[in-house]
Amino acid sequence: MNQPNTDTCLGVEAVNMALRIAMEADPSVLVLGEDVGDPEGGGVMGATRGLSTAFGDDRCRSTPISEQAIIGAAIGASIGGFRPVAEIMLMNFTAVCMDMLYNHAAKLRFMSGGQTNVPITVRMLTGAGAGGGGQHADYLEAWFAHAAGMKVVAPSNNADLHGLLLSCIEDDDPCIFIENTPLQRSRGPRPIPGQRVPIGKAAIARPGADVTIVTHSRMVINALAAAEQLASEGVDAEVIDLRTISPWDKTAVLDSVAKTGRAVVVHEAVRPFGIGAEISATIAEELFGDLNAPVQRIGAPFCPVPFARELEDAYIPSAARIHGAAMLTMDKAWVSA
């Protein structure tokens, strides 16, 4: 069924196309990271394949396994006038270079009074479902969303992978670009080359009138599946794909919830202290009187990503759980007589 044709491509190809377009358009765009050069395979997933051949080893450089040195080099080069795209293979590995990301990339603009800025993009894979276990699959978007000065992007489809990556590279702030591992390996519509998607703008993945499901990255797919089930039961769900985690599109979310009066916030990250808390708190603050039910939050259980297939399946928020939460908001008992 997944027959390649000209209209579809893998997620990883949507990323590769964006990198190529950015490097062609702007000689200051650089790519660095572990194995990113063609002799080393063009990246763990092949996202940088062809770039070192097309643009030379100076502009697409394989690095040692030295995450602090990679991000430090990207920060310094960006202050020196370049636009580096650093690949930190997996999101969990950002823990190794958090000082460079949190204390330096995010803060140098502010601490220098606006004299220096750090226009870097840091790409990384993550997401459960590939048997990666406890250190290869976490969603840590809340860590970065909590860092003032950092932008955080988490696309759910090829057009957004392509268009948001271009926007991040061209953006003057440091951007964390989250690629979902299973989605990078799946096929979807081929993006229109060069079509940008703005940072900070959510998309309505499915319009609806009864309940708003706010989510991002791979959970958009589960939310859409839940919405189909809900539709068959007469509940019209609106699915908002945040696309950007920080700065998040408050207007889009609040407009939708003001319309539906019900909200379910879903993320693959563990539920406690996740971005769902920020979003549901904001909804409660802004729309207290308009809500027909308490905001529901769905996230992974508070444990490391497990290995056993059965446990991993249970860890990832399912369409059934999202459906259950949406149905809960529809309960008439919430509305006082």
């Binding site: 602090q68 040195a69 080069a77 020196g80 580096p84 460079m100 502010f110 220098s112």
Partner: protein, 328 residues
């Protein structure tokens, strides 16, 4: 050390001038804190001033430095102007960073002071990137990363030296070995007696010099800077020195053996170098006195300028967080 790298009399005098300027800045900073005129965390570089003075005379204004919280001497030697420097110390709007960074984050691109970090070991990875940008641009610009002996025990040091070596980056790693990691003496926390030898692991030259001797520091720095400009890659310089006022202001030195500190004070590089250049006929006592007095006046004026400058407005909290203001 070859004679080719011996400083001429004019350079010797230039080094003295920078040392004198650093010393005046340090004395005024400590006095201003003691008398309550300034409130800031302060990590005195007194005792280490000859290192950046003897490095900077071989740097061009467009060369870069990355330094650390104990970095007043590095900034002054690189040419950060005193008035905005002091206004930043005071957290005022005329500061280098509009008062938003403070003494630990002085940034002044016009003089090449690109990053000042409050995190031990973090000047080096970023210095690599600045050096990489120069190499990619085909410029002759070099980058100096300043750090202490304690930072050589952080992973970022090892990652940075390795990357700089394999990428042949035009960067000079200057370790100011003041023999203490905060309050812990070097022999208790560093498994090698000469930090310069750590360069061997990364296939780059490692040079250990007396960090209290400007002539030795000058020679090592000049050679390293020339190498970097010629595209021959990085050098690690270990300049052995001592800090006279502990880790930070208010530090009672109780962890420091008294005889050790006394011996270091007797080797105070400032009066020794002053005597030496007078004896060598580089300058007269009166000429040096005139330099000291001019610097003293400049620093005093900078302090008054800083204290007269207004604080930043509260709206600055929301500016410079992102390129465009974000309402989160």
């Amino acid at each position: 050390m070859t004679n080719a790298y011996a400083p001429d009399p004019a350079t010797k005098l230039q080094i003295y001038g920078l040392m004198s300027l650093i010393k005046q800045n340090d004395e005024h900073a400590r006095r201003a804190i003691r008398t309550g005129r300034l409130v800031m965390n302060y990590y005195s570089p007194r005792g280490q001033e000859c290192i950046p003075a003897a490095v900077s005379v071989s740097l061009d204004p467009e060369d870069y430095i990355c330094t650390i919280y104990r970095g007043l001497h590095d900034m002054v030697a690189k040419g950060v102007p005193l008035k905005p420097l002091w206004a930043e110390f005071a957290g005022r709007v005329d500061g280098t960073c509009k008062g938003k960074g403070g003494p630990m984050h002085i940034t002044h691109p016009a003089s090449g002071c690109m990053v000042t970090t409050g995190i031990v070991g973090s000047s080096m990875p970023i210095a690599n990137g600045l050096a990489w940008s120069a190499k990619l641009s085909g410029s002759k610009r070099v980058t100096v990363a300043y750090f202490g002996d304690g930072a050589s025990n952080i992973g970022a040091f090892h990652e940075s030296l390795n990357l700089a070596s394999i990428w042949k980056l035009p960067v000079i790693f200057v370790c100011q070995n003041n023999q203490y990691s905060e309050h812990t003496p070097i022999e208790k926390c560093t498994a090698i007696d000469e930090i310069a030898r750590r360069a061997d692991s990364y296939s780059m030259p490692g040079v250990r010099v007396n960090g209290n001797d400007p002539v030795e520091v000058y020679a090592a720095a000049r050679e390293a800077i020339d190498r970097a400009r010629a595209g021959e890659g990085p050098t690690l310089i270990e300049a052995v020195t001592f800090r006279f006022f502990g880790h930070n202001m208010g530090d009672d030195d109780s962890y420091m053996p008294k005889d050790k500190k006394q011996a270091a004070l007797e080797r105070d590089p400032f009066p020794l170098y002053r005597r030496r250049i007078i004896d060598e006929g580089v300058a007269t006592e009166a000429e040096l006195e005139a330099i000291d007095q001019a610097h003293e006046r400049d620093v005093r004026e900078a302090l008054e300028f800083a204290l007269a400058s207004p604080p930043p407005e509260i709206a600055e909290l929301h500016r410079d967080v992102y390129a465009q203001e974000v309402n989160q």
